[in-house]
Symmetry: C2
Subunit: 347 residues, 2 copies
């Protein structure tokens, strides 16, 4: 099995190194032979080649069995809305080119982190949500541009029935293996794309009579996620809504630094933390590598079917937390100084 | 002064009655002469006239000095994505026709409700956010439709510099009267409309050197609102992001049932709870009328310049809560049964 490592920008570099080290360790322990290669994407790729997703990287991606990815982004571009070349273009192009239409974001709280969240422990306890975020459509990929002498900007959101159906089926099927509840989130009282979305979900529901389907408007869902997270089991939603809701939901898991994601679809799967490049803490060695470590776990499970190996990773994270070790983002006033780890140590 | 009452659908009817009663009381107490009229909008208007915003209602709106509005919506349409006439069309048309481009949503926690939120009290205490949500542009009002034999749906998001600038100026000016911090929320790493948005904010900032301006991506903001709400003072954002973030932020105030909003712009202002028609609790007499009562307070303050009267309303709500009275949504296990009020009593 050949794994491509794409650290990207900022803390992506720091945490992916740890994620890879865990893969190496697992291979050793369970007797697997993984080979590795590395490639550039994002700001680092722009600096080196002028292109946020160089052809060489894309080629290597296509030739790998799975990809462990970090993050892309740089404040330089964020503060220059007129920049033509941007790190995020590399990320979006990768998703499109590899057909990664399903982004799975499991939001699971490790019991030891009940205290790390801003939400009350009694509201949180027992929360376990699996998000399916559509990843290659919506307003992310429709035509966009300027008109009226650069005085008006536009972005087109678009969905076809086919695009909605394939992500919806994945979500329905996942619900079958879990709590058998599916919540579809849209804004069907305003958006035509959402009305199509809702039509497709409604049309599929009879094929999954064992699943209880609920529709929520995105505004209500954003509220309900915080008010009563246990209400959710599997959630399926469009690209933009999924982006917003899963970042919000990171608070359910105590910290964004704990959340892994899997992007799958037509070919090679990509595994990455849901956090970004976080240039404000880059180079300080304080980034929480557990999202990358758990991403490595998802990679083993989903792309390679290695359940035992994946569970070994989750147990190791659990043990680390039970032993009281914390990176700064999940430490609190009660954490003894000698248990506050830097990025390397947590790995 | 002439006030138009538009109760709309579901609990809109119940809470607006209470909001109006408070206006009547205030006029009596402070010696003002307000006249009232009533008009239909939403599902009730469709039932009566086939039109969610009848011409007669629009005419009455234009002829009033302020509008106290309830909510619109009905599950019938939510479950039928193909319905051609929908209650929400009335709401959106009202916003457009009256030029209500600025939606102000103050998120302020009454200290007595620290326990009613799912967020930890120590995170919440002292939160005080004022949202400026753009209300007549974005993906809400761009062209939308179907193509490819009804198999593809699209929605166009659009913003002009002028539209961004007028809402941004309102937000900058409000920041001046408050904590002098402005957070602009966009998704400039992906959307062209957001890049235009950011350009305009950046171009205006030098005119307000006393205001500290920050830009956040909407996904990060959705997370930060829950993680550290005190970080925010004035927030300005586009229509769709504002819809999502303000509903989410309702948890900062303990309950959506507490939140009032003001929609202002070119002419008559509209004042309404941020909650919806809530058909699940309609007719049970349990709806919290305080959002409508506080909307009446915003009406007096913003449209009529009656500060003292508006403050009298806030004090009355504060006293009601201090005396331990609660509607069901903000009651908890410690609320004695005789202090749990129905909608009328809370008024
Ligand atoms: C970096 C950005 C373009 C990206 C997105 O919006 O998809 C990120 O927020 C994510 O969630 O992976
Ligand atoms: C009912 C709906 C169209 C409306 C909106 O999305 O604007 C509501 O959610 C609101 O926030 O006023």
């Amino acid at each position: 099995k050949h794994i491509l490592i794409v650290p990207g920008d900022g803390i992506g570099q720091e945490v992916t190194e740890v994620g890879k080290a865990v893969l190496v360790k697992i291979a050793e322990k369970f007797g697997h032979e993984f080979t590795y290669d590395e490639a550039l994407m994002g700001h680092v790729a722009i600096e080196a080649t002028g292109n946020p997703l160089p052809d060489e990287t894309l080629e290597k991606m296509r030739n790998s069995d799975a990809i462990l990815f970090g993050a892309v982004g740089h404040p330089k571009y964020d503060n220059d809305p007129t920049a033509k070349v941007r790190p995020e273009q590399g990320l979006l192009k990768m998703r499109k080119e590899l057909g990664l239409y399903a982004n799975l974001r499991p939001i699971k709280l490790f019991d030891e982190l009940l205290g790390a969240s801003s939400i009350r422990p009694e509201i949180l306890k027992g929360s376990d949500i699996l998000f399916f975020r559509e990843l290659t459509g919506d307003i992310y990929f429709g035509e966009k541009g300027r008109k009226n002498d650069n005085n008006t900007a536009y972005d087109i959101a678009e969905y076809s029935r086919y695009e909605v159906e394939r992500i919806a089926r994945k979500a329905f099927e996942a619900a079958r293996t879990r709590g058998k509840r599916l919540c579809s989130v849209d804004k069907a009282n305003v958006l035509e794309t959402s009305r199509l979305w809702r039509e497709v979900i409604q049309a599929l529901a009879p094929e999954y009579p064992d699943i209880t389907v609920e529709h929520q408007f995105v505004d209500a869902a954003a509220m309900m996620l915080i008010k009563d997270p246990k209400r959710f089991d599997v959630v399926v939603t469009a690209n933009l809504f999924g982006d917003i809701l899963t970042d919000e939901a990171s608070q359910i898991a105590g910290s964004m630094g704990m959340l892994a994601s899997a992007s799958v679809g037509d070919s090679t799967g990509v595994y990455e933390p849901i956090h970004g490049s976080a240039h404000d803490i880059t180079g300080k060695g304080v980034a929480n590598p557990l999202a990358s470590v758990l991403s490595a776990g998802l990679l083993l499970d989903i792309s390679f079917g290695l359940k035992e190996e994946s569970e070994a990773i989750i147990s190791a994270v659990d043990k680390l937390l039970k032993d009281g070790f914390r990176t700064r983002d999940i430490a609190d006033a009660t954490t003894p100084a000698d248990k506050v780890l830097n990025t390397q140590q947590a790995g």
